[in-house]
């Protein structure tokens, strides 16, 4: 697994707390950038001037990940929390987490199943009944190292898993990685690489970025659902790992411009259409600012959970597709 991708996945960056990741990206892209800027909401803009620019292209990937936030501390020193972004509550039980800047380690817990009445055992898990155990014996103990409002991150190590990459938040570290690799090249047109914030809580950074950059066109680079697993009907499989970059036709937030989409497809050596029109990404916020927008995604299994998987070949394919487009257009 590429060391930059590994580092990107290991850095904590829940929506609204993207500073650590942003600092790392700035450090890595500085040698290649013509201009670097951070706006008041936290979006990072990296301008790469073209050799003979006729238009301004925006490439966009989000820096934030889903996670949790400390909402209260019980008298016994347990941490109650709220969810940031879309997480299926059932994936939260019995997970290792890190809290705040001090990266306090904890484990998520819930009432043991054998203590529940029989009729409650099959009910869906509710995060409001969960807590994080940091090993504190009292509220005072806990308050010494954890505060209300501290972000909570999944504690996952990025590494290779067979042929695949495993890590926390490949959605959208995969996209950030792709942009960082593309930044090393110079193209004919001006390209603004935008690393947005708060995508997971409502595409907020992209909404600001679109109005600031005002590009002629925009390609949103994200990570999307991949349901090529056991017991899933093939018609419900949105994408497949290893079958190339996923091209969005329509999702809950966008109907991608057909001509633009077809141009991107023609630049791809291996692509697949996203088969299920669910989910949305920064494209939803960009295109309503009257900007021609398309969306290319990295297929990812188990996204929005503690660990996700992606194929390095798909990552390579994603980068090549965009590179070919920037060269030919």
């Amino acid at each position: 697994m590429d060391s930059i991708l590994k580092t990107l996945c290991n850095i904590d960056s829940v929506s609204g707390r993207e500073n650590e990741l942003r600092d790392y990206i700035i450090e890595m892209v500085k040698p290649y950038a013509d201009k670097i800027q951070v706006d008041s909401i936290g979006n990072l803009y990296v301008l790469k001037k073209g050799t003979n620019p006729k238009k301004k292209i925006m490439l966009c990937a989000h820096m934030d990940e889903v996670g949790m936030i400390v909402s209260s501390i019980t008298d016994d020193g347990y941490i109650r929390f709220k969810i940031i972004g879309g997480i299926d509550e059932s994936v939260l039980v019995a997970k290792r987490v890190r809290i705040g800047d001090k990266k306090v380690l904890g484990v998520t817990g819930i009432k043991a199943v054998h203590l529940l009445p029989k009729d409650k055992r099959k009910e869906k898990v509710d995060y409001k009944e969960m807590y994080i155990d940091i090993g504190a014996s009292s509220k005072n103990d806990a308050e010494e190292i954890v505060k209300i409002g501290d972000p909570v991150y999944f504690d996952t190590k990025a590494e290779k898993l067979g042929e695949l990459c495993k890590g926390k938040a490949l959605d959208d570290r995969g996209g950030c990685y792709a942009l960082m690799m593309l930044l090393r090249e110079t193209f004919e047109n001006d390209v603004v690489y935008v690393f947005t914030v708060q995508e997971e809580v409502g595409l907020r950074g992209a909404s600001v970025a679109a109005r600031f950059v005002k590009p002629d066109e925009c390609i949103v680079v994200d990570c999307t659902t991949c349901l090529d697993m056991l017991d899933v009907d093939e018609s419900k499989m949105s994408t497949h790992l290893g079958k190339g970059v996923a091209v969005t036709v329509v999702d809950s937030a966008t109907f991608v411009n057909k001509e633009f989409r077809e141009k991107l497809v023609s630049c791809s050596e291996k692509f697949q259409y996203k088969n299920v029109p669910v989910g949305g990404n920064d494209a939803g916020a960009v295109h309503i600012n009257n900007i021609k927008t398309a969306s290319l995604s990295l297929p990812g299994r188990y996204i929005h959970s503690q660990v996700s998987l992606a194929s390095p070949k798909d990552i390579e394919n994603l980068i090549t597709t965009i590179k070919n487009y920037l060269k030919e257009n």
């Binding site: 002629d216 093939e234 018609s235 109907f255 991608v256 057909k258 989409r261 259409y273 029109p277 009257n290």
Partner: protein
Amino acid sequence: MLEILSALNSPCGGEEHIKKYIKTKLSGACEDSVGNLIYRNKGGDKKLVIYCSLDEDAIVVMSQKDGKINFAHVGDKKIHPGDTVSFGGYKGVVCSDNKEKPTEDMYIRTVGNVEIETASIGNLEGEYYCEENVVFMKEAAARVAVCSMIECADCESDFDTYFVFGVMGKKSSRGLVAALREIKPDKVLLFEQTEKENLTVKFLATGYVCSRELVEEITEIEPSVEKEVDSKAKSAVSFAECENAVCVGVPVKFANNIRQEINLDIKDKILNIIRKTMKKGCE
């Protein structure tokens, strides 16, 4: 013109044909970056947008196997097994193997089991039928509004008037939002369907309250207009992001069906509203 507009398929994301036709009627109309078709009548200084959406429900091919097309439906109409779908020159029928809940797990079979390219955009079929002054057609309200806007496009105007024939209306009025953010109008007049029996001005809808002055303006122009108050109703006007936005409801029957019924007597009233709004001066 209405019959031609009805025959031109314009699924959300694939509105090319209808735009091409409108361009033959309004030379000088051009498309913006998201695909809205805009015709400008430069009268005065203050900007007025008159809007209606062009698109109809879309059927998007997601995947296919063994002659069964898995599709995504973009829009608000109810689809049932037996409905006909058109993908360019190819026709298909909506099917379901689920006898208990036939509107679940629907798929499409094409005539002759012809394979349709993934990501192709098709539309639901619904023939045009007219008897005296009553018409049955797809997107009846929007099409009558389009006709009216075309007829008024070159009328005298005290405003710098933008006629916006919007795309992606079925996708939370994305085209409308994009157009308004670009144009930044002083005033917006929108047309969409209503299930009421008369022409309405939408006073209250989900996420939107219209100013009393604008409501009075419309009722002054056309006294037969009814005030529509429904806090649960969705309306494109709630996406307008403009204080001076007013939505006129065009009455249709069977609003959620593929074809609606509309009485063409309404058209004169719509024309009246458009012409007088354009001439209302820069108040």
